[in-house]
Homo-oligomer: 349 residues x 4
């Protein structure tokens, strides 16, 4: 913490600040310039509340100088975190695309969509069984029956499965079906849930809250990491701004910012980030061009009749075309998007 004193601060006021900092456990370095005194406080209690110093007389400003996150930081671990999820390598050179329906609705719908995304090159199946909805009157998901349908389709097509867990009480059941556990944007600061997920040994995909700063997002990942689960994927999905033409503003610049601050892989969800099918492809391309490690995309075999979020789900043919575009873009930054053997043999089989 650095404390900047007012120009007219008295010696007595300065000493009171120094005393407070010492009480809080800091090493204190005092630096007196021509016009004002600056006090540096290093080491000490990581979480001392800077506002307590800010309120002392003669203090102009207090600035925190260490990132409050630790295990998520590049200071703690310099190399990129790379890990396997099934045989899919997350965080490596290959850009990983996770795709599938917003919600599982029926066996036929899950199977058809899984087949389509696999064929186009997706490496992980996504799909929801427990759905958080702003309104209590909206469709809330099929629950465990949905998990069963998703697991069957994932197995059938040789894809790992990512699905959302909404509450700590659901972990026990979801963990039996899923390979990656997703935390939704509204739950980014559900600390009870995060703490419990830190005890599991499955990778966690942690979406950024729509009004979460990057710092808060990394602090939330810290709840999982501190529990001993080091396999966290960060997923940007749009922040809330004044602009209302798009549902949210997808913060593409968060990708290079987080890649610099943290060693964790960063994914992007352009489906929720834009809320409209015709904006998904441009933003997916932008995310890969900006350096995202992967994408999470909603695809539905029949979006016009989807029970939730049909408007932002891509048709399989749109998704195929997007994958082809991404294969051109990825090499610009030294990455690849792999093509499945089955796809290489021809999509028309």
């Amino acid at each position: 913490m650095v404390v900047v004193m007012e120009e007219r601060a008295t010696e007595e006021q300065i000493e009171r600040v120094v005393a407070q900092l010492v009480t809080m456990g800091y090493d204190v370095h005092r630096s007196t310039g021509a016009t004002r005194t600056v006090i540096g406080a290093v080491g000490g209690a990581r979480m001392g509340d800077p506002r307590l110093v800010e309120l002392l007389e003669g203090v102009q400003e207090v600035v925190r100088i260490t990132e409050p996150f630790k295990l998520a930081s590049r200071t703690f671990k310099q190399d990129d975190t790379v890990f396997l999820c099934g045989d899919v390598r997350i965080g490596g050179d290959e850009v990983i695309v996770m795709a599938g329906p917003c919600s599982a609705e029926s066996e036929q719908q899950v199977q058809a969509t899984a087949a389509a995304v696999k064929r186009a090159g997706a490496k992980v199946l996504r799909g929801g069984a427990f759905k958080p909805r702003s309104s209590p009157y909206s469709f809330q998901g099929l629950g465990e029956e949905g998990l069963r349908l998703l697991r069957a389709a994932a197995d059938q097509h040789g894809l790992p499965l990512v699905t959302e867990v909404m509450d700590a009480s659901q972990i026990e059941v979801v963990v039996q079906y899923a390979d990656v556990l997703q935390v939704g944007a509204r739950n980014m600061q559900n600390f009870t849930l995060l703490r419990e997920l830190g005890k599991t040994r499955k990778p966690i995909l942690l979406k950024r809250g729509i009004s979460a700063t990057i710092e808060e997002w990394l602090l939330s990942s810290e709840y999982v990491l501190a529990g001993g689960n080091m396999h966290v994927i960060l997923c940007e999905r749009g922040i809330r701004t004044f602009e209302s033409y798009t549902r949210n503003t997808l913060d593409i610049s968060a990708i290079p910012v987080v890649k610099k601050l943290s060693h964790l892989p960063v994914f992007v969800d352009p489906s929720h980030g834009t809320g409209r099918r015709d904006k998904v492809a441009p933003m997916a391309r932008a995310a890969v061009a900006a350096g995202a490690d992967g994408l999470l995309i909603e695809v539905h075999c029949d979006p016009d009749h989807a029970l939730s979020d049909g408007a932002q789900s891509m048709f399989p043919s749109q998704f195929e075309r997007l994958m082809a575009e991404l294969r051109i873009i990825a090499p610009a930054i030294g990455r690849s998007i792999c093509v499945e053997p089955v796809a290489r043999r021809g999509w028309g089989r």
Copy 2:
């Protein structure tokens, strides 16, 4: 829903939109003007996704025309909701002040603070036992021991108690100690929690999420109301904006807006809304002047040594002075802030 067609929309496109709306269960009214056609869709499925229509060819814009919240709306219930919490009347002419420490820390601290706020005119004791913290390394509250301390102090001073419940799994224990259950801003869309709270019969104080629109806030209250618990207090506590001089921007204008849209009582928390002790009094005065039904204020018998949020906790003497100012302001809008018998007899007893 109202669908505005593009100027160059064809008859065929218009008919496709009409057909889609009929499928979604709406009564359709078509209105053809000089330059374009507008299609009104009334009745029908409350939650049809307007984006599905928006994506049809020839459609320029789709506008939702009914508020998605129902039980919280003045359309549903025209009179203000007023209810008793112990012998305290919430939502009536009297502006109710709930005050106390951020967290329960010790018996002495809870008792001293409760005595101070009671003496100054607070009608409900507030205090936290389970604390949601952005960082896993911060103080997380005393848990059930904190609840015991708060209950004892509340009983001692004849005050009802409001305290936070962070997770559905905590309801069972918190409900044994508290008179009002508080849902924190980060949990405003923890739908599992809200649904469970709808089954209890204690009043719920629902804080607005820092990036929640007023509509989303009312929809979250709907989760509680739909469960049969009609005693919800809405509590504004600051929204996130680009301005960083204050921790959040307290949205005072939300008070008259919500009072018009909904029959539920609206409180304001100026302590979290500003994050700094010296800004609490001006914003508390502003809230009452704008028509708030009550306030939630952090007071600590010794803020400089508080384990959490000391920087935004008022000294008892500051709180007393604020209460005196509020007693002048309330009559300007036909309201009062009652004075306790004990206080009227003299604070020096």
Copy 3:
């Protein structure tokens, strides 16, 4: 400026930062703690770009430590700025209300409105002749003819006049009619205009831009002050946020924040801040309760037929009632709202 080095920064990197700071003209103080080095840079060039240091290798974060504004700051001038505008004292104990129509439309309209606001206790007449409008197809004001009408009404009722100047080229004409020159929110960073206004000797009412930080707002006032014109009134009128139920979010907390940072008087415009007549009174009361030095309110003798902003203009009777409410609130913070002799004798004359 304070430079925080990364934990793993090398001695060579630290020395390069020190050299850069010395080049920029700073006194450098180096402080080595257990885990990292912090470098304080005081004195020196006021406006050195901290980002130039931020990009050096081994640097984690750079923090600016002096406010970039100078003449507007309480560090520069500790006492409140108080000045006369005609015989009206701005910045003193009395809360000053400026009221009148959005735009001058006709002699009858201006005279009738001026009479009404005078009677209710307004001390300054407001009204627009040059109107900035988002769309080129909207009414753009009467121009100099409007100024003549406003001046005549101001003289008739013994009120000083505040009106907007949109461009440096208009100053010469506006200065002949107005007592206070208003800079609109969209022009807050029109530096050519601000610089020219610094050369006039009329008070300037500077509205905050809808997305301006408090720091940028004070820096803009600095353009006027640096020209030698020390009579600047700051006017909060709402900031842009994600919430869309109100046109803007009136930032009431800016009042106490600016009163602490600066000696300049702070006014509030609740008409533009909310955009709706029925929200003006609650927000005007909140502003006074929070410590505003004055208000700027749109009143129209016949709002339903106003050529601009009728929806946010109060009826004269609503304005009278608001003034009565404000007279109750002001004493809560040791202030008053004066009553005109004519009003004291009875409104019915």
Copy 4:
């Protein structure tokens, strides 16, 4: 405009609304459903203030149904606007890169930077002579001398020149030197300036204000278009959000949104949009991947000694590398980035 009546609205209230709409010049269509009445108002005065209807008794909500912009809209002109600037084709298949220093500082600096950007494939030279700065104490540009230096370098290297005009009074001089006139973000709603620019016959590059909605941005372009100057380039450069790790949040999703609403070309300025050199390349790549028609990039032959914005200016070598990456990305969406003959012959000359 569509007026949604409250469920309990009376027949009398409905008729009053209809009468008001007729007065405002609309064709009125009334549609009575099971629970409420919806009134459609088409044709009529383009700019009737919907808030005037909103305040009538019994009205729940009023929705505007036509875009307020006209000449900028795809409804008005379906095909993309493409035009020549010198021999450079703006808005066509080729992605156009405009590059150069933030400010002209010296002949040597301008010449060296122009040579470097030309060699790497830039098609237009950018550079500032009049600089808008938040603080009056910052470097404000070389003025006309800067224009002379920029013109000479542009001629020397066969590049058209884009430079900023800050005030209507500067147009006369700037127009003598520049090929494209730039309006800065802070001036996006300087209507006096925009109106004057509508009378020139040079292309206008109109930056989006940091808090401007897309609608306001298009309305500002309308001021230029309405004057008869149809050559407007829209330029996204970041919006203000709560996130502070980046200076602004570059709104990449604005690209596909504006391309759908308007026929005007859309450029992106990743230098101001991020404020940091190491974030410029990822965001430039993202912009092209999302469909931008061009880029505006700050390059400096010696950024560490730049007088303004050095921290966000690229080194020539970084810029060359970025151009190479963009040449890989552009074909993914059927576009190209041309290579200058000189560059094709080898960069090592």
